[in-house]
């Protein structure tokens, strides 16, 4: 758990600073290589998006000069940069990565893009060998946590733009948007965006009517749709299931009598009016008709606001999930820390046992098979009993913060070298005379 992270994001740094630190995708592999070559860093990776730049590392001894790396790499002075940086270590670094991957640290909480970006950064660093065991564990867990947050909370489910709320409402009315027709009345930026969203969700065709016919033609061409003359609006409008209206008319252009006509011609199939004009294009009178669903800009805005509030509530639940996952990760990391020590302790004692048996066998002469078995059982029993307490203590300590201390003590007492199994055996052989004699 010698993780160390440094970075800045949309909350800590203004755009002009973030711009200076942004790393283009093509240069990411080189940056990762440079990072791992930096003193004190074992593994490292860089996440660079328009809202954040983060340098995540696993250090050799728990502390590396990551600020120095940033200054060197981006040729920036500490005065320019340091005030915008945040730095996390160990558990806090793990929590931060989990939060970033789960999109809780994003500008729009719950947006799905960030997870993909983190995954790409991870793949890039992995390809150049900058990510190995430790960061590998951290990020595989982070992706799993992000997935858990996504499935167990609704943090990513509700949409937040007016256009996407309009799509959701349309789905609540029509179920599927496949084969539905859209009518744009008054070509504007907002209605174009809403139409784009609707088309992306499967709407079949688009009609455009505008006071200036040429503009209608222009917009219709963009969507492969059909331009309608403004005077034909009322006679063709019933062909559409969804009407997006945003004219600059000073009074409502859709009144009750129009609504009644449309419904009669449509055999009462419902119509959805998205009225983003101010003043409104759809009269309240018409909106009351059965089968006419009209949402004005305020209604849509209200839905957007409530979605944001919902997300905040869900985000709190997500934070709880993250907190418990960080604990789990920490506990697991510690358990992993003690495993090599336990293994080498076992190896160490086994070597002593074997050596002692060989030594004593010379003195006792040939043993009968029964005697062999008895000696084997006796020595093994002693070793197991002696090892029982230290191993239990190690395992218990692994779950607590004192793990490192206990591991250190055990290693020193038995002079264990846990890097590799062979190393441990070698060490054990050397310390033969210190073996336990009975």
């Amino acid at each position: 758990m010698r993780y160390q992270l440094i970075g800045l994001n949309h909350k800590s740094a203004p755009l002009q600073i973030r711009e200076k630190l942004a790393i283009p995708e093509s240069r990411l592999p080189d940056t990762c290589r440079e990072l791992t070559a930096y003193p004190g860093i074992e593994e490292g990776m860089v996440i660079s998006t328009c809202n954040r730049v983060e340098v995540v590392t696993h250090t050799v001894n728990g502390s590396a000069d990551l600020r120095g790396f940033l200054h060197d790499h981006f040729h920036l002075t500490p005065q320019e940069l340091d005030a915008h940086l945040y730095e996390f270590r160990e558990k806090d670094a793990v929590r931060h990565i989990f939060r970033v991957a789960a999109s809780l640290d994003s500008m729009v909480v719950g947006e799905a893009q960030i997870l993909g970006q983190v995954k790409e950064a991870y793949a890039t660093a992995r390809a150049v060998g900058a990510v190995r065991g430790q960061l590998d564990q951290l990020f595989s867990r982070a992706f799993a946590v992000a997935k858990r947050v996504r499935t167990e909370t609704a943090v990513g489910s509700s949409s937040v733009s007016i256009a996407s709320v309009a799509v959701e409402l349309a789905k609540k009315i029509f179920g599927t948007l496949q084969g539905k027709n859209v009518f744009i009345v008054g070509a504007g930026k907002m209605s174009e965006l809403a139409a784009r969203h609707l088309m992306a969700h499967g709407c079949a065709s688009i009609f455009v009517a505008n006071r200036t016919y040429e503009r209608a033609i222009g917009l219709a061409q963009k969507f492969n749709g059909q331009a309608i003359k403004f005077e034909d609006l009322y006679s063709t409008c019933d062909r559409a299931d969804i009407v997006i209206t945003s004219t600059g008319a000073p009074h409502a252009i859709f009144r009750r009598e129009h609504g009644e006509q449309f419904l009669a011609r449509r055999k009462n199939r419902p119509m959805f009016f998205i009225d983003i004009a101010v003043p409104r294009d759809v009269s309240p009178d018409m909106a009351k008709l059965d089968g006419i669903f009209a949402y004005d800009i305020d209604d849509l805005q209200q839905a957007v606001t409530s979605h944001v509030a919902d997300r905040r509530k869900e985000a709190e639940r997500a934070e709880q999930i993250i907190a418990s996952e960080v604990e789990k990760f920490e506990a697991r990391a510690h358990t992993l820390d003690v495993v090599p020590t336990i293994v080498s302790l076992q190896d160490h004692l086994e070597t002593i046992r074997q050596a002692e048996i060989d030594r004593v066998r010379g003195r006792m002469g040939q043993l009968t098979p029964e005697q062999e078995i008895a000696v084997e059982a006796l020595t093994r029993g002693i070793i197991n009993k002696v090892m029982h307490t230290p191993i239990t203590t190690l395992k218990t300590a692994a779950k607590e913060s004192e793990a490192t201390t206990v591991v250190d003590v055990v290693r020193r007492l038995f002079n264990l070298q846990v890097k590799a199994k062979d190393g441990a055996a070698e060490a054990a052989a050397k310390k033969d005379e210190v073996g336990i004699r009975h």
Binding site: I173, F174, G175, N268, A303
Partner: protein, 269 residues
């Protein structure tokens, strides 16, 4: 023994009944899943109960309680078919209470109550009962769908932000469920009434059109037909369709209640 199975089924349907009430106020996917599983289990018990009565030879086709049990089972079948097609449990809001009530009265007391008149054409009678009950179940469902349609329409019209998160499926999906049950139920109801007339004709030699049972049945059928026609011809849905559906539903209840004072279609102990 069959009564015991039926009571097990009743217990399962009870969970569905609670779901029906809860679902009206809040959305819970977990509860919907529990209710669905409970209902499926209930249907298994129910089926065993029906089979057992049938195999034991005690199945009296024209007994009130067996009829109620059968109607409840057919309604549940409809519910499950809709779930399979549309993946929604919301029709349960109407179906579960109706099914629970029917199963309840059937499970409390199973005295065989027989049709008074001696019926000559047993096959026709069985066809009459199954057809009519399928028609009834479809009617219950389309009535339920029209209520849900109203509810969803009101939610969408109220423009409260909560209208986006609701247990109800999309308006057009509800509409389709209602319309399809209506279309499916109509031929069953019509054929059911025709087979009933054949049974009555062969038993009594004539049909007394002034008998309350026949009068109300014809009325129910007429309302049913008006519903299908207005829907097909001018796409009536929403409030107007709901009013018609409630009318048909009341007519159906009245036609059922007529069993108690009809001279030709009466059950006595």
């Amino acid at each position: 023994m069959s009564l015991l199975w039926l009571r097990f089924a009743l217990g399962c349907y009870f969970i569905g009944l609670i779901y029906a009430f809860v679902a009206l106020s809040r959305t819970s996917d977990l509860f919907a899943r529990i209710a669905l599983h409970a209902a499926s289990l209930g249907m298994v018990f129910h089926f065993v109960s029906l089979v057992e009565v049938f195999v034991s030879g005690q199945f009296v086709w024209a007994s009130v309680h067996n009829g109620e049990s059968l109607l409840a089972f057919i309604s549940m079948c409809f519910f499950m078919i809709i779930y399979a097609i549309y993946q929604t449990t919301s029709p349960g809001v109407v179906v579960f209470p109706v099914v629970f009530f029917l199963t309840f009265v059937a499970a409390v007391d199973q005295q065989p109550v027989l049709l008074t008149a001696f019926v000559q054409r047993r096959g026709w009678l069985i066809a009459h009962i199954i057809l009519i009950f399928t028609g009834y179940a479809a009617l219950v469902l389309s009535f339920g769908a029209s209520l849900l349609y109203l509810l969803q329409e009101r939610r969408l019209k109220s423009k409260k932000p909560t209208s986006l998160i609701s247990f109800l499926p999309a308006l057009e999906v509800i509409d389709q469920i209602g319309y399809r049950s209506l279309l499916l139920g109509f031929p069953f109801m019509t054929l059911g009434l025709l087979t009933g007339s054949v049974v009555a004709l062969t038993t009594y030699g004539r049909v007394d059109f002034l008998d309350p049972k026949i009068l109300l049945s014809v009325l129910m059928w007429a309302v049913y037909m008006v519903m299908v026609f207005t829907r097909w011809n001018s796409g009536w849905r929403g409030r107007r369709a709901a009013i018609l559906a409630s009318f048909a539903f009341v007519a159906a209840l009245a036609a059922w209640a007529a069993n108690y004072f009809s001279t030709i279609h009466r059950f006595v102990s």
